[in-house]
Symmetry: C2
Subunit: 353 residues, 2 copies
């Protein structure tokens, strides 16, 4: 099979972690007789430096022509404390999401038995946790009208949702729930926000189409609590963009394995696979970042974008081996030897054999 | 001294927990020679039932005439799954905050050594945690324009902040930081929201007036992570209304003592003291709810509203005694005898002696 993959390494540790995933994907392709066509595109601060745009048209064309996008991370501290900067790396991310129609971000959170004690949460609280947060990614306050008034002394942002946007995301949520434990939680702030009331009423209307799914409605503040109290009580959660941003990051702490958590974004034009961690600029260029989340994102890509389950399963098996044998970067090494990012990548690729 | 206190019991367990605080306040007043004038007002679902308004004018007048407000909790499940209800208990809360000008919600999070193992977080992660989240309470998306368009199929909410609103809240934050460890964290989403950029630039401009305070700027998603990873790394956090709603609830889990956490809301016209827990309707009327958070809120009231530190200290000492001697409700009793709400209140009042 021919696999046309757009490769967006991004900023910070992005290039290093993506580089290891490429090694693994290439090895898997050789083993299974696929032909991978990688096409690289610039994004983020790297793209601002090169062409003044964090998601240039040339990169968009590469993504549109590809069957899937493998993404690293973007963001650079140079822009964080400069609220007046007019071009920011993150704008590239938002533009990319919008132009590729990546409307649903899928964030699994599960525990690795061998790493469960890395969690800040107690073992008995998290054992058995296996949840998915489905975050709406192209609407809400991220994309509404915003600006200043009153000589710059008043600022506003607008959160807008249409019924169709909610339905599209919720439908995925119901379907996912059907393929899992048939439990769906709609997270909103319907006691305050009109957009949340639209979410809640839309999801309520859809319940009749999925009579087997047991739906609960919870406020975002309550979920922010319960996620750390009893994460294993949740299965599939659906929510709007900003709540999803906050809750997925919070949830990433649960397993104690943030460096291992993959994600996908399902789109109208293509789909995108990326580690949930950020660009971690402090570690950039040091060959110390953990590449496993990106490698596991590549496994998701094999399965979800190309329907290649055996390839995905092989990658997951090899990642589990690396954990079992301690071929891991310093964040997971504890008192044992820490391997370099590139060494972990080489080891994984070699195991594909 | 004459203490004019408005008493808003509210819904669910509100009346029961507030009732115990009244016993303790009355006992303390007798001991120290104060005269307490309690005036009760209706709020929440109770007020909707009685007069069709969750924060009636009569209640507002009571609050305006008082030196401080002691508040229980409001909210009723009857309204939660009815997105079309036009009058909701929570509207009373929002109206009250706005009309009383309660612009800053102060939420301390600290650990009780004897209860630290109740936390879902590991002891070594939370030991020494002593942080305050200062949440802006009368602005942002809670009070912006909202509505429907397009035959009800599009919903919008607006988040608006003015520089003055940010300054007022941030000034409190800087002052609190000065009286503590001189560390302030401004929590925003300045990589996306214009209102957050106004927050960040306003706080940056204020840094020169508080040269000793070390200010950090962090994104709300990152804080949602770090709060559960290393809560003891934080001291004073300032943030806007919706982020504060989510983060304060998340933080309430840290100590494992949610039933003990008090809060205050600082206002233009008066200030209000309340437990952080909600109306917990499932427990209403059963005499099982933990009254300690409300009793500790009364201690905050003595200290912050009336400047009566000895009275506050006495209440805190007695609460610690009740914990040490196991005179606690079922949520804290473990395998030991659980006392009723009213028994805990009677015991505390008797200890004042
Ligand atoms: C970088 C930022 C704009 C982005 C977001 O808020 O969506 C990030 O936090 C994420 O979750 O992917
Ligand atoms: C009940 C609700 C409107 C309220 C809020 O969101 O402010 C509550 O969650 C709180 O934090 O006091």
């Amino acid at each position: 099979m021919e696999l046309n993959i757009a490769l967006l390494a991004g900023d910070g540790i992005g290039p290093e972690v993506v580089g290891q995933a490429v090694k693994v994907v290439d090895a898997v392709a050789v083993k299974f007789g696929h032909q991978v066509n990688w096409t690289s595109g610039l994004t983020g601060a790297a793209a601002i430096d090169a062409v003044g745009d964090p998601y240039p048209d040339s990169t968009h064309e590469i993504c549109m022509a590809a069957d899937a996008v493998l993404f690293g991370a973007i963001g650079h501290p140079r822009y964080d404390n400069d609220p007046k900067a007019t071009v920011r790396p993150e704008q590239g991310l938002l533009k990319m999401r919008k132009k590729l129609g990546l409307f649903a971000n899928v964030r699994p959170t599960f525990t690795f038995p061998s790493l469960i004690d890395n969690s800040p949460l107690k073992r008995e609280r998290i054992e058995g946790t296996d949840l998915i947060i489905l975050r709406e990614l192209t609407g809400g306050i991220y994309f509404g009208e915003r600006g200043r008034k009153d000589d710059g002394n008043t600022a506003f942002d607008t959160c807008t949702y249409t019924r169709e946007e909610v339905q599209r995301l919720a439908k995925l949520g119901f379907e996912m729930a059907m393929s899992r434990s048939k439990k769906l939680c709609c997270v909103d702030k319907a006691n305050v926000l009109e957009s949340s009331r639209l979410w809640r009423e839309t999801v309520q209307d859809m319940e009749k189409d999925f009579p087997e799914v047991q739906v609960s409605y919870e406020f975002v503040d309550a979920v922010a609590m319960r996620l750390v109290q009893w994460p294993s009580a949740y299965d599939v959660l659906i929510t709007e963009n900003l709540f999803g941003d906050i809750l997925t990051d919070e949830a990433s702490v649960i397993s104690g394995s943030m460096g291992l958590m993959p994600s996908s974004s399902i789109g109208v034009h293509t789909s995108l696979f990326e580690p949930i961690h950020g660009s971690y600029p402090q570690a950039a260029g040091k060959d110390i970042a953990n590449p496993l989340a990106t490698v596991l994102s590549a496994a998701m890509m094999f399965e979800d974008a190309f329907g290649l389950k055996d390839e995905a399963a092989l990658i997951r098996t090899i990642v589990n081996q690396s954990l079992a044998e301690g071929i891991v970067t310093e964040d997971l090494a504890g008192k044992n030897k820490a391997y370099k990012t590139s060494e972990v990548g080489d080891w994984l690729a070699a195991q594909v054999g």
